[in-house]
């Protein structure tokens, strides 16, 4: 499974929608209807899935840094490569 597919699967579990409905360019908030709690839940599930700690992302930056599905994928790729 690619990193992209894993991210989509995590989001689909939290948002209770089918992974095939989740497009890369989808905005978590506007297109998928994620509340701030949903966004934190997604972040925490990603931490578990990838054995990462992302709590250095300040709340006020969360909305900009992970606005879309593609943002999460890019953010993760950068982290995994570090």
């Amino acid at each position: 499974m690619t990193l992209e597919d894993r991210v989509k699967e995590i989001i689909s579990n939290v948002m209770n929608t089918a992974p095939e409905h989740i497009r890369l360019e989808a905005s978590l908030k506007d297109d998928l209807g994620a509340t701030s709690l949903d966004r934190y839940t997604i972040l925490m599930d990603i931490e578990d899935a990838f054995s990462l700690e992302l709590d250095d992302v300040p709340e006020e930056e969360l909305e900009d840094k992970i606005a879309t599905v593609a943002d999460i994928v890019a953010f993760l790729k950068a982290r995994v490569e570090e």
Binding site: V14, M15, N16, G33, A34, T35, L37, D38, Y40, T41, M44, E47, D55, E59
Partner: protein
């Protein structure tokens, strides 16, 4: 609409759900517009302007946010009921939303609920000196662990204020003491501790001065037996007779909101469909975390879609 023909519960949001322009679409429809006109008359100021043009900053004030969220929610309720004829099988509201739920179930007149909520907002605002109270969401730690960290903080009061969903507990108290709790909460295993954008320590013992005065306000309004179960935030069980409704509403000011248990009661009674009636979608998000099989629709999707709904 057929999906919601039978068993549906109405959910009503509390403070924090307000957004700029949240009243605009309801001001365009005569049925919901009348709710704003009634509110403007009762309050003596233009709540309708606040809900259409007010800034996020203006809407944040507790004494404004509370009547605004109640009024927008009741406007949405009236429009929903006009368009769909839906009758809820159960009503539940988060904190101030409990008043909206009581209006929807016929236990409170809107005008009386608005007067209560206006006073409630002012009293909560004044219960503590500015910037001394606060609230924070604690994610990924169960209630008991949160409570034991808060209880051991020494100077100042911090208590559990909302049990929103599994792994989402909100704490409330002295702002400075909440800050001191954070390292302990993290050490106990909390994944995140997020400060909430509120000016006071709602649902904590620090609100006792407000509860005392709210009791006198509630004594002056008529309360009727609800037409369907309305969940009490304090007991997570349906409200009883009018006298006990008043008592529970006073207790609510200083007690934790047992939200997840309220939703669970509705689910256990066989209702799986919910409509979130009011601004925002915070409660739909909590429903997802409480029970993934629960279906929650936003009221805007049911009131906006004239043409499509009639065609289907």
């Amino acid at each position: 609409m057929s999906r919601f023909e039978h068993e549906v519960a109405f959910l009503f949001p509390g403070q924090g759900s307000q957004t700029p322009g949240m009243g605009q679409e309801y001001l365009r429809e005569p049925t919901s517009r009348r709710v704003f006109e009634e509110a403007d008359d009762i309050l003596g100021w233009k709540l309708s302007d606040l809900c259409s043009e007010g800034s996020a900053e203006e809407l944040k004030r507790t004494d404004r946010a509370q009547p605004a969220v109640l009024t927008v929610s009741v406007a949405a309720l009236r429009l929903l009921q006009e368009k769909s004829g839906l009758r809820p099988r159960a009503c539940l509201g988060h904190s101030l939303g409990e008043y909206t739920a009581l209006v929807a179930a016929g236990a409170l007149e809107f005008s009386d609920a608005l007067r209560c909520v206006q006073s409630r907002g002012e009293l909560l605002d004044r219960a503590l000196p500015a910037n001394t109270g606060g609230m924070a969401a604690v994610l990924g730690l169960e209630r008991e662990r949160v409570e034991s960290v808060c209880a051991g903080i020494g100077d100042g009061i911090v208590v559990v204020a909302n049990l929103n969903a599994p792994g989402q507990v909100v704490i409330s108290g002295h702002r400075e003491a909440i800050a001191r709790c954070k390292p302990g909460l993290k050490a106990a295993g909390a994944r995140r501790v997020i400060d909430l954008d509120v000016s006071s320590a709602f649902h904590s013992p620090l609100m006792h001065p407000a509860a005392e005065r709210l009791k006198r306000v509630l004594e002056r309004v008529a309360v009727n037996p609800p037409r369907c179960p309305v969940l009490s935030n304090v007991t997570a069980r349906p409200h009883g007779d009018p006298r006990s409704i008043r008592t529970r509403l006073v207790e609510q000011v200083t007690s934790p909101v047992r939200w997840a248990e309220c939703v669970r009661w509705v689910l256990d009674s066989g209702i799986k469909d919910f409509i979130e009636v009011g601004p925002g979608d915070v409660l739909a998000g909590l429903n997802r975390a409480i029970e993934p099989s629960a279906r929650t629709a936003a009221v805007q999707n049911l009131t906006r879609s004239n043409g499509q709904e009639k065609a289907s």
